[in-house]
Amino acid sequence: MKSSTLRAWSWVHKWSSLVSTLFLLMLCVTGLPLVFTHEIEEVAMHQAWTPAHPDGPKLSLDQVLETALARKPGEVAAFMSFDVERPVVNVTTVKPGKAGYSFQPIDQTSGDPAPSVAGHPVMEFLLQLHTDMFLGLAGMLFLGAMGLLLVAALVSGVVLYAPFMRKLPFGTVRTRKAARTRWLDYHNLLGAVTLAWVLVVGVTGVVNTLATPIIAYWKDTALKELTQAYDKPAPSNERSSLAAAVERAKLALPGKQLQFVAFPGSSYSTDHHYAVFFHGDTPLTAHLTTPALIDARTGQLSAVAPTPWYVKTLSLSQPLHFGDYGGLPLKILWALLDLATIVILGSGVYLWLVKRGSVR
């Protein structure tokens, strides 16, 4: 490689890393406990709860909805989701024209309020810091840009690896040499073995930062196309039965698991449809949702709308970023590789400081 080319790659590696390191370190440090969110919350938040009538009949979805709306006068239904392990239906309502949602978990055997399975405050704090640093969309997009710098650092790192390793067998760590040489060897070894994982977690992280615009685009294009030519939204008093709509949707997507319902006018639906979302039951298909749109006035099936490629990409980026799809062994590997990444970032800064000092 020509020395000018080498210098250019070196410049890319140095600056892409330096600009992003602090944020990547924050992401690695907050990401480490987040990998184990489920386990931590199970220990810290475990509360025994049994439904009022464990073996009794369940209320219909329409009765649950009526109960929820009666407790929040003036609000309209936005979403309904279903707990996997408890006979609990979660109803999200909203005051028309206002921001902010009300969330009510309801015991489907009695209509009584059920305890919410909200996250642990510390984990929620870490997640928010990790997602957007409490800055909303701007924070998310900023962290996405840091992710792109990470990709640049990885690519330039691979290019620079060759000249450094031309005389050293893979994995050599020269422990008897000066600290700078030793840490360069650790940096190269860990960088080489973690490359694919860091690239996948980095790129899927960048895709996740685009969640808000991706969903907004989907809603404005593909979902809108499915809207029939009504001039005004379907008013709540002209709506057909919710339970019947869900049953009709199940007939359209046999063998799929019911995930949630988006009500007319909410995000994830049109102004005229119950959007009933289903997912598969393998780790892969569990993240791929398919909505069936049920005409809210007539209860008829309007369309089954498989999500477009960019929503599928977003959906698959979530497990590949969180590492929560392969049980505890995969989570432990995620944690070890995260720790290795912290060492790579730290040693990178150290090598830059030492070089800077020696140049002066």
Partner: protein, 60 residues
């Protein structure tokens, strides 16, 4: 005594195999639960195993 230059293939062969195994493992665990989780973890775990081997066998 100076060592001979390694070829690009010699430089990149171990990192390339580890990267391929890691990618295979990441996708394998996504395919299904049970055995696929273990196959996925074993393949992704190659990166940690190779690091441990290098730290033990390649110290100079």
């Amino acid at each position: 005594m100076s060592r001979p230059h390694l070829s690009l293939w010699q430089v990149f062969r171990v990192p390339a195999v580890v990267a391929a195994l890691s990618l295979f493992g990441l996708v394998a665990a996504l395919l299904d639960d049970g055995i696929w989780d273990w196959i996925g973890a074993a393949a992704l775990g190659a990166s940690i195993a190779v690091t441990a081997w290098a730290l033990a066998a390649r110290r100079r």
